[in-house]
């Protein structure tokens, strides 16, 4: 990678799902639904395009699935070292954005809601 990349929402969800353990495509969607209260904002075709992009960029790779799933021909994805690094950078970026946003809302003339 030449420099930090900003991730799309769907890519962020994929990386969040596969950073701690391998997951297959549908499981990634299910986890994203859980995280977002059933509104992940993407459908399965979008997910697969995201998987391809992340794979081509070297952020995720295919790993062996758990023994229990050996009968199913599913591909399990896991974040690569580069993927973890990218996710960390993206979270830091988001944190700084959140901080800026919070600070501004807190100091806005109308006060805003905290």
């Amino acid at each position: 990678m030449d420099g930090p990349i900003s991730l799309r929402a769907v890519e962020l969800h994929v990386l969040l799902s596969v950073v701690d353990r391998p997951r297959h495509g549908y499981a990634i969607l299910q986890e994203a639904e859980e995280r977002t209260g059933g509104q992940p904002g993407f459908e399965i075709p979008t997910l697969y395009r995201a998987l391809r992009r992340l794979r081509d960029a070297g952020l995720i790779h295919v790993v062996d699935g758990p023994a229990a799933d050996a009968g199913e021909r599913r591909e399990y994805w896991e974040a690569t070292a580069l993927g973890r690094k990218t996710l960390r950078a993206e979270l830091t970026r988001l944190e700084s954005l959140v901080a800026i946003g919070r600070a501004r809302i807190g100091h806005s003339p109308s006060g805003g809601r905290k």
Partner: protein, 867 residues
Amino acid sequence: MSLVAIASAMARACLLLYPPAFRREWGAALTADICHRASDITGQGLRAFPWLPRLFASLLANAVGAWVEAASGLTRPSISWLDLRLALRMLVKYPGLTLTGGCGIAVAMAIVVGFFSMNHWYFNPRVPLHEGNRLVGLENWDRQTHREQRHSLYDFLIWRSELKSVEDLMAFRSVARNLIDGDRSVEHVMVAEMTPSGFALARVPPLTGRTLIEADTAPGAAPVVVIGYDVWRTRFGSAPDIVGRTVRLGGAVHTVVGVMPEDFAFPVNHRFWLPLPIDHDVRPGTGPEIYVSGRLAEGMSLDSAQAELTVLGKRLEGQLPGTHAQLRPEVLPYTYPFAGMSRASGSELGLMNFAVSLILIVVCANVAILVYARTAARMGEFAVRGALGASRARIVAQMFAESLVLTTVAGAVGLLVVQLLLMEARRLHRAPEFWRDYSLPPSAVLYAAGLIVLAAVITGVIPALQSTGRRLQINLIHFNYGAAPKLGRVWSGLIVVQVALAVAVVPIVIALGWSQMRELVTAPAFVPEQYLAAGLAGPQERMARTRAELVRRLGAEPTFANHSFVSELPGQPREGRISIQQGLSVPVEATVQTAAVDSSFFRTMAVASVAGRSFVSSDEDEHAADVVVVDRAFAERITGTAGILGRHVRFLPASRAYEIVGIVDNIEASPLDRALERPTVYRVLKGGEQAGREIVVRLNTVDQTAAATTLRRIVASVDPWVTVDTIPLSDIYRARRFLFNAAAVAIAVAVSCVLLLSAAGVYALVSFTVAQRTREIAIRLALGARAPQLLGHVFARAMRQIAIGIATGIVLALLLDASADGEALMGYGGPLLSAMVGIVAIIGVLAAMGPARRGFRIDPVAALRGE
């Protein structure tokens, strides 16, 4: 039908819209997950609506996205310096492909860029004056004849007083004048008779003195002239007291009032400027033929000026239906009227450029086949690189780099050729228009750069895409087993198409080229160096008297042996249709060369009489019978010599009947074929006829320059207002020879390129097809096959494809010839097609021979081990 079944069917159907690579890799998993999802939704009792439409929209939107990513993914890998070095190495490694493809692309590029540049100069030249791009020309076009109507002095006066969108309106005409320097010399010069506003339009101040002013145009004003820098320097030795000195132009002596700066040649290529006399009472559609120009007013565009002029034109049309009903006034870019172009001409530009650019695309398609053949030979290499992690995009990018290097080198050569031709044109063009710029326009270089990339895409990316992809994995398997990859039907199809095109196109190119060239291979039956040709120009009312006096004066001049007045000079014939009565049957029509000559023409040109009589001076009498003399070619090819005398000829579309009174020898002979000699009909110039403004003079001297000076001096002394423009007849024939040589070179280059590309294409395709089978040949030999039988088998397969191609090509050529009424093969179909079939067959055999011999040499044991 369950939700799972519906969702699955929808996914499968929509996946057909995805790029094949995506479908292959992700389609199954995507469909499976959609089925899981549908099953979950059903199981949880959730409603299918709105999930199904959302899924459908997502499937469609992602199909588009996947295509966009597939396209951009190919260009994502950048081209490295290493790629370029590798590409250069490939150029050296495959010299045949480099030379063949490079030559083809270079020639095509030269043609396309040359044509583009030429269009640019005509349609979009930079006018090197202050706000030159705001200068416009105004002229009337005849709606029926689609020609300019330049008798527009009346219109000019109206336009000048009423138009708001065009300012500084000026009118001028270009006239020939004798520049007479006492008794010493007479020079033929072109003078601009221009309204003084022309200088305001050009916005160029004089170097010395003043420009023309309105007072100079007043009746009775002293004749004045503004001269150019060159004239001041060469004729007056840059004299500082030039203002007030005199110049004799024709019969009038003009006082020099100013000198214009160097390179000023406004309005076209002029060096002398006189005031244009304007008759304010001129009737519509009369007066001199003039050009009108002006400057777009502030904030006005060509279209807004045209709108105003159209309204004015409609008004004039209503007021003057007799002269203006057919006229369409146009506002044009400044240079258009001088090139005879209307507004419609500009819109055809893009189409013409596209049509000519197709030449490059056809050549590139041919080179792409060669590259494809080479790519096929490198499939093993690509397969291994793919296995080692190179993406398809990476391999495609590398092949693009290789082609880009080839097309850049070829494109640069093409541009160099155009530049050299431009330098030659600059050398030959003695009096170019002041806006003429003989350098490659930047837009042409940009256009060439775009074409170079396009050529690289066609010759590099398309073969790369065709030979990578899923095939890469298959090829790796073949490579592991030591076998050549299978190329399938595409390959067979390419061979057939390549052979068919070679057989169809090459003979047509040769036939068309030769038919054009052979007509130029005619030699004059006289010695051109002994003749001087001259064109007379001057006021019509003076010409008859001048001619009569000239006949007397030229006859008395010892420098001249004979002279003759003609309508067309030898070597510059005019074609026309005639009809001739053949006995009692319907008259026969024919296209022939026609010329009107005086009675001394055949004597002057030393043309012998074959039958009947030649012209005599009494034939020139206005009341004499209408007679013509025909040449031998006419008698032999159109009527037959028997009984030709006394028949009648009519010049079409309508003329009186002229009696044939004699047959003379041909004035030009063809050493190749007498059938090429053009039939000619000569009619006699009647006394006082205006057509005979050309003179051809046979000289008693070898010094043509001195003879030309004498002729100009005699003409100026007879009437200073009549000018004479001289040219040695040998120069006319030299120009024709130059044309012949240029045509010969162009046709030879075109034929060589087509032949070379076709031959290389057929060779590459066939040799690779056979090369695929070398291992098979070796194994068959090992298993006991007899060599001659095997060889026959190999050749039979290669030749079957070639035979289909040849048959298709012959049918194609004959169809094209038939649709062009025999004008495609020009009657040479038999020998040319046979020769081409022979050449293609030989190339096919040679191409198959090499790989087949290699097959026979492979150790059968090694071949079997490979299996």
